[in-house]
């Protein structure tokens, strides 16, 4: 069998982490090869290397047996590798046909030869049995159809190897059916398909072979008929190495955060959080485990008031927050460590000390009369910088010049130093190196000791299990299981995280 893609020892490092660690992968011509793994396992990095967006630090790439260097997206197209991105890159106002040919138009002289283009695209449609109205505008078509446009785009450019990045994430079930039919058809015409996903049922259904990535390494390759979902889940999640924390015994106080039947909908009306109930007491860390995109972000944002609940109730220290502004909620003693610190946590062009007062700039100790007490704010910043060991050249420096870990320390210093009652920490260690992550854990445990109620959201299962006193698994906007970390096996959680039913893993 001819090998379409062979990767040998591919390594890609980013500051602080190794995204791909000596990856070996073989994809045969004409197969559908699935790559699965948790968020952050290195799938996307690997695909970006194939697409010529990133260059590997080490390793070799062979395409159809020839060693190649894919140093640009253009080179990838020359090598007949086509990427279908998760987020569509289409021009809404253009028709389907125009989008497909855009950038690869056939022309007669300087004029666009629309007839020839149309004929070529129609041939593709017929060959692969795609149904699409070429004259519809992209803004009018469904998500599933838009995806077909993306696939046609790469086919039109002559791709033989198609890389699909989580293609089913945006699709409704019947659209997934149709996509799979299309993919089978492509396969029967000899195309090679690399299919990235973390939905195990789908992968088991469509793939010929499955490679599991975990923490940047290849965990193994399996054939669907020989493995079960549980096997794959175990490979994906691994055996959590519990980090050891000096955790004080649990000394819980009153319920500080209580959520009852919370529903949060996106503007289209689809529920993102769908009936979550939980109670967190002072001195307790409640961990939310789950694959990203199952409602964690929205849950966190509802608590801080960034999103409004369509149903249910959130109470902070007994106070219903339904009609409170974000500022009023914060004034109740809620600290928020946002998932996306660049977008929500910091004003990047502003100075370090300015970021240190963001949201707390109207607190009495930061004011002198009606003006800012710059001396006090700078002093506070200097203290925190020293206490947390933030590395910077000056607190007058724009915070964008700091590394991720140091930026996060500034956020922690800001959010945790006013004795918050409730802390919502959404992926607080994402993108941080080990040292900085450890620092975040330690600070949160300190706050636990001081009696804060902490909601800890993370896609990293080991982290959640290690730090939390109780863990809830979130799937599709629902908490599908809840347990104490010590009374559960990783397999159980893996199954829940991937949408398994209660009982499948026999959680105690």
């Amino acid at each position: 069998m001819e090998k379409a893609v062979v990767l040998k020892g591919i390594t890609k490092r980013f500051p602080g982490i190794v995204a791909n660690d000596r990856i070996d992968l073989e994809v045969e011509k004409g197969e559908i090869h699935a790559i699965v793994g948790e968020n952050g396992a290195g799938k996307s990095t690997l695909m970006k290397i194939l697409a010529g967006i990133y260059q590997p630090d080490e390793g070799e790439i062979y395409i159809f047996g020839k060693r190649e260097k894919i140093n640009s997206p253009g080179r990838a197209i020359e090598l007949k590798i086509g990427m279908v991105h998760q987020h569509f890159m289409l021009v809404d106002r253009f028709t389907v046909l125009e989008n497909i040919i855009l950038g690869a138009e056939k022309s007669s002289g300087i004029a666009l030869d629309e007839k020839r283009c149309r004929k070529a695209v129609e041939e593709l449609l017929a060959l692969y049995n795609f149904s699409l109205n070429l004259d519809a505008r992209v803004e009018e078509i469904s998500v599933g159809q838009a995806q077909r446009v993306e696939i046609l785009k790469v086919l039109y450019r002559g791709a033989d190897i198609l890389v699909l990045d989580e293609p089913t994430a945006v699709l409704a079930p019947q659209e997934v059916r149709e996509l799979f039919n299309n993919l089978r058809r492509l396969k029967s015409e000899g195309k090679t398909i690399i299919f990235i996903s973390h939905k195990l049922e789908e992968v088991l259904e469509i793939a010929d072979r499955i490679t599991v990535l975990r923490r940047g390494k290849v965990e193994g390759t399996a054939i669907p008929s020989q493995v079960t979902k549980e096997d794959l889940a175990r490979m994906m999640v691994g055996k959590p190495v519990m980090m050891r924390f000096d955790k004080e015994p649990l000394d819980v106080g009153e319920v500080l955060l209580s959520i009852e039947d919370l529903v949060v909908k996106e503007s289209s009306g689809r529920p993102l959080v769908n009936g979550v109930s939980l109670k967190i007491r002072g001195g307790e860390i409640y961990g939310i485990a789950g694959i990203e995109g199952n409602g964690q972000k929205e849950l966190a944002e509802a608590i801080i008031g960034l999103r409004t609940a369509s149903a249910g109730r959130i109470r902070i220290c007994g106070r219903d927050i339904a009609d409170l502004s974000i500022k009023e909620i914060r004034d109740l003693g809620v600290a928020f460590i946002p998932e996306d610190r660049h977008r929500q946590g910091l004003v990047l062009p502003m100075k370090v000390w300015e970021n240190m007062m963001l949201g707390y700039h109207t607190k009495k100790d930061f004011l002198k009369g009606r003006s800012l007490n710059l001396k006090a704010i700078r002093g506070f910043t200097k203290n925190k910088v020293e206490e947390y060991g933030v590395r910077l050249s000056s607190i007058e420096q724009p915070i964008e010049g700091l590394s991720g870990g140091n930026q996060q320390k500034v956020i922690l210093g800001r959010e945790l130093s006013r004795g918050p009652k409730v802390i919502v920490a959404s992926q607080p260690t994402r993108g941080l190196d080990v040292g900085a992550a450890e620092f975040v854990h330690k600070e949160l445990l300190k706050m636990r000791k001081k009696g804060s109620a902490i909601l800890f959201i993370s896609a990293d299962l080991e982290e959640v299990l290690s730090i939390s006193d109780r863990v809830g698994v979130i799937y599709n906007g629902k908490i599908t299981a809840e347990f104490r970390p010590e009374e559960v096996t990783p397999e159980d959680i893996g199954v829940y995280m991937l949408g398994g039913e209660k009982g499948a893993g026999e959680a105690k």
Binding site: I304, L306, S325, I326, K327, I329, R330, D331, F336, P338, R343, Q344, G345, L346, V347, L348, P349, M350, E354, M357, L358, G359, H361, T362, L367, R370, S371, L372, L374, R391, L392, S393, S394, E396, Q397, P398, E400, G401, L402, S403
Partner: protein, 374 residues
């Protein structure tokens, strides 16, 4: 610390470089019409700066631009583009004129501040429409303010040529028609010139110079805006919203509230733009009341990179160019449009050069951090 100084120096250097670059490029334009660039620039400087009254005229030219630059910059600081300063200052000037000619018998100490206040309120009212539409309905402020500029032109036209036209004007020998202008403002509404004050220092200005107390008032306003932006919680909120609205919202700041207050402030400043001309030179509002101060304010704010003190300097620079343009036209027969070209080139080069400079500064800061970490 040494590096911090270096970076600050680069920041100041950026506009200077832009001015030099644009002067170089406009030299080509001057050469193409067969004049010597050196002679043109020399004449500009000599004509503008060799006499005290000319310097005073430059400052008089700069006065409205200080206010309009500040008005635009307040918008920019919160990430909004107030193109409507143009309309806001015309409406503000009319409000001030109205208070100036319709109220009689007040002492100047009350009347003049009242007139100035009316100017600010007029600008504020005109600014309220676009910001209300933006916050409540999501109407983009660029579109609505441009449209409101046109409406304000026509409205002003109607108000001064019809509704409030001065019908007491005497016609020369009963011929022709009366001028389309408002009645004259009461003397108590007029802003005193700086002549008396400067006279104390032995500086004598001739009567044809209209430099008045709005110039120092403009500098004071710039200082107040600087204080507001850098030293008050609201100024901080305004800047935070401008640079990252989502983070500001997450921190509990309401961007909508900041937008409304900030835009009204911008409108109030805009309302003061026309007052130096109205309350010292004209004394009434007519169809020839100066236009384009609002648009020039955008350029002034851009060159100053929205720094209030920078705005004073860039307004004076524009005042100088205007004066210099008169000079080269009268003395050398070089069309004053040459100066328009120079101004346009300056704006373009400042945008390009500050971008390059800021990227360079950012890289310097990054490098420093890497050094610290290793």
């Amino acid at each position: 610390m040494k590096k911090g100084f270096y970076i600050a120096l680069l920041r100041i250097l950026a506009p200077v470089l832009a001015i030099v670059l644009s002067a170089l490029i406009s030299s080509i334009v001057i050469l193409s019409i067969g004049k010597s660039p050196l002679q043109v620039f020399y004449t500009m400087f000599k004509f503008s700066l060799s006499r005290m009254d000319s310097v005073a005229i430059i400052l008089y030219n700069a006065t409205p631009l200080i206010f309009s630059g500040l008005a635009v910059s307040v918008g920019f600081r919160m990430g909004l583009f107030n193109i409507g300063v143009e309309g806001q200052y015309l409406i503000g000037a009319f409000f001030a004129a109205l208070a100036g000619f319709s109220i009689k018998g007040l002492p100047a100490a009350i009347h003049l501040p009242l007139v100035i206040l009316c100017g600010a309120v007029g600008g504020m009212l005109w600014a309220f429409i676009p910001i209300f539409l933006k916050v409540k309905r999501g109407v983009h402020e660029v579109i609505s303010t441009i449209m409101l500029n046109y409406i304000s032109y026509s409205l002003i036209h109607y108000l001064i040529a019809d509704l409030f036209i001065d019908r007491s004007q005497k016609l020369i020998q009963g011929l022709g028609s009366i001028l389309a202008r408002t009645p004259k403002l009461s003397p108590s509404a007029m802003m005193p010139k700086l002549h008396g004050f400067l006279g104390l220092f032995g500086l004598q200005l001739p009567r044809h110079v209209y430099l008045n107390w709005f110039f120092p008032l403009g500098i004071l306003t710039a200082a107040l805006i600087y204080y507001l932006l850098m030293y008050t919680p609201f100024g901080f909120e305004l800047r935070a919203v401008g640079q990252n609205r989502e983070a500001a919202r997450t921190a509990g700041i309401s961007p909508e509230r900041v937008y409304i207050i900030g835009f009204l402030l911008s409108g109030a400043l805009a309302g003061l733009v026309g007052l130096s001309d109205l309350l010292s030179y004209f004394g009434y509002m007519d169809m020839d009341f100066p236009r384009n101060y609002g648009f020039d304010g955008i350029a002034v704010a851009l060159i100053a990179q929205n720094n209030p003190f920078g705005i004073i300097f860039s307004a004076i620079l524009f005042g100088f160019l205007k004066r210099g343009a008169e000079g080269i036209q009268t003395l050398l027969g070089v069309p004053r449009e040459t100066i328009s070209i120079l101004q346009a080139l300056m704006i373009m080069s400042i945008v390009v050069i500050t971008k390059i400079m800021n990227d360079y500064i950012k890289r310097l800061e990054k490098k420093e951090e890497v050094r610290l970490c290793s």
